[in-house]
Symmetry: C2
Subunit: 375 residues, 2 copies
């Protein structure tokens, strides 16, 4: 259980003058806890245990101030939506503040419990103990499920570990989840049967909790054990509920809508998605269609898979317009504990898709074998 006395330390970056920062920090501590003037509070428990506390203010070189606020973990009720509310609910409406990080007490992290499988679990399923993993995407949306299934089968023939739906594939009139998933799962199964491979098809889930559960049951009935989900679209509470309700399923988190927030990517896609149970987390690698810096990417990967109160590590999945030509560079940045996701660049191979996938998976296996990786 969460102790009433425990605090999490929340790090905000605040644009301010040196004169104003102390009162601005105090205002954030109020906004993110009691949301009422301290003069009004006559209750000792509220004043001592619930009110936010400014723990530290530091001027950062050439940038904003780093403000550390201690917030009572009991205010989160150990519930994902309320955690986000306490970290950034109202302050997200104030443009001078970015949510940079949070130091979470062990009891809170363990209450959320993290990934059921993590890196080791994914490796076991795929019989890939040391090398980096590979991932490809089924798209474009609008293709019939037969055509998507044909793509899935060919990518499996090419040895891709996880073949995921594009995150745009949902439950649309032109491609119903209940039609697409059995077709794609069967195509991957057939390819595995022929090759002795262990490729996984990961369908994209969407909708409210009732629909999400229904979709997982459809997938599980087809032997699917890995799914794609965008926690910021379905809502963190629904994401966490599914992870806990379906412990046999591996969850691959997609960052859609996550970038709209003024929240550090390493915190949201790394730490928070991990704490709520993402077995793998997809994020934009630097130099693709998105704008994360190399440092942000490295940091995100380390937060996702480094030590964190004994929770299983989350597999980093750099993506976002990556090409086969960039595989050596990507492996050098992240080492073998990761999964390389190539989407459109593989599909562009057209009639040579199987060969292109074989080239991709072969490169990743060779370049991430223990002897090939220096760090």
């Amino acid at each position: 259980m969460i102790s009433d006395a425990a605090r999490m330390i929340v790090l905000y970056h605040v644009e301010s003058t040196a004169e104003a920062i102390a009162s601005r920090a105090a205002a954030i501590a109020v906004e993110q806890s009691v949301e009422v003037s301290l003069a009004v509070i006559d209750d000792a428990f509220v004043r001592e245990a619930v009110c936010g506390r400014v723990e530290d203010i530091r001027e950062m070189a050439g940038g904003p101030f780093e403000v550390r606020i201690g917030l009572a973990t009991a205010t989160t009720g150990a519930e994902p939506g309320q955690l986000l509310n306490m970290l950034f609910g109202n302050t997200s409406l104030q443009p001078d503040v970015t949510l940079h990080d949070v130091l979470l007490p062990a009891d809170l992290a363990r209450a959320f419990a993290g990934p059921n499988h993590g890196i080791a679990g994914l490796r076991r399923r795929l019989s890939a103990e040391r090398r980096a993993l590979t991932c490809a995407a089924l798209k474009p949306q609008g293709l019939s499920h037969d055509r998507l299934a044909a793509l899935a089968g060919r990518l499996a023939q090419g040895g891709v570990d996880i073949i995921k739906d594009d995150h745009g594939l949902a439950d649309q009139s032109y491609s119903r989840f209940a039609d697409r998933v059995p077709a794609c799962a069967a195509a991957v199964r057939r390819a595995n049967d022929a090759s002795g491979g262990r490729s996984r098809y990961a369908p994209s889930l969407s909708g409210d909790l009732d629909r999400l559960r229904h979709q997982i049951r459809i997938a599980a009935a087809e032997g699917v054990d890995t799914v794609l989900i965008a926690p910021m679209l379905v809502g963190l509470p629904a994401f966490h509920r599914l992870v806990r309700d379906f412990p046999e399923m591996a969850f691959l988190a997609h960052p859609a809508m996550a970038g709209a927030a003024r929240i550090a990517p390493a915190l949201l896609l790394g730490r928070l998605f991990r704490m709520l149970g993402a077995d793998a987390t997809i994020f934009p690698h630097t130099g693709g269609r998105f704008h994360y810096t190399l440092e942000e990417c490295r940091n995100l990967a380390e937060v996702a898979r480094g030590p964190f109160h004994g929770l299983n590590p989350t597999l980093p999945v750099p993506a976002g317009g990556m090409t086969r030509a960039r595989v050596p560079e990507i492996l050098k940045v992240y080492g073998p504990d990761m999964m390389v996701l190539i989407g459109g660049d593989l599909l562009a191979a057209g009639d040579s898709l199987v060969e292109a996938a074989r080239g991709f998976t072969g490169d990743v296996a060779r370049l991430s074998a223990p002897a090939a990786v220096s760090e």
Copy 2:
């Protein structure tokens, strides 16, 4: 049903040079639809019906470009999370783009169906046909449910229409939802019985869909017919599901986490929350603790309550550090079709809370009576 051929027109504001804007706009159209190079697409349906289309590019005076992209409404599957995914999922990760607005076809708006009660329904319940409505908040979090209930009773004695939980009140060890809600509901009921008033207590909901439904049932058993919910914390799919499942309940939307997005407030808190069913929408009025401009606030109110494919209007609720002294100004900005929310400034009255609430509700009634409102 949603026609396969219909498009919604999405307006993005894009930072760009004049030379680069055409190709940037084309890239957004791809990112938000097929997410794969057009050269790869050999399917006529995908190319003609599903691919995003650049409809217009305009240079805005002294600012970014306005880019209009036509996206197939069928890609949304008429599901709230997937709608947000198609509007801004991946592009939210790109810092040069803001989601400014969307022109939604009538069939899509009607599929989501909007507020069950809207402004007229709220007015009927409260027997307040013409005047502006009033709202106050129970806080700080950490108070026992007895103390919160005492505050609720006194605000009801003062004639406040809707007495809502602070959005920080969830289901915490020191204040369980199942304890707080019966206590506060009973206090308001007693005050109504004594005064003949019609004050409403609106508890704050949190958690996943199972918990949200459980909380609504607890509230309904106490005669509660109005609830507070933060759609961006629980997730848009869960919010919409509740609105449809509990048509007798009025939903007051809270903006927590909504400001973290690079989405125009009028679109998210006004149009989208309305389409999904918010009977009232709370937003920061200009000049409080937040930074919305007066123009943004006016625009948000008009989007919330103006004509929209026959959907019920949503009641605008300006808030965010408002004081009793600002009531005349607020009424002048919005006219009587709104609800004034005063939080901490009322609670600061301490022992004189009932009188302060009477002063507030009396002022609003007098100043928003038809004769007093010029516009």
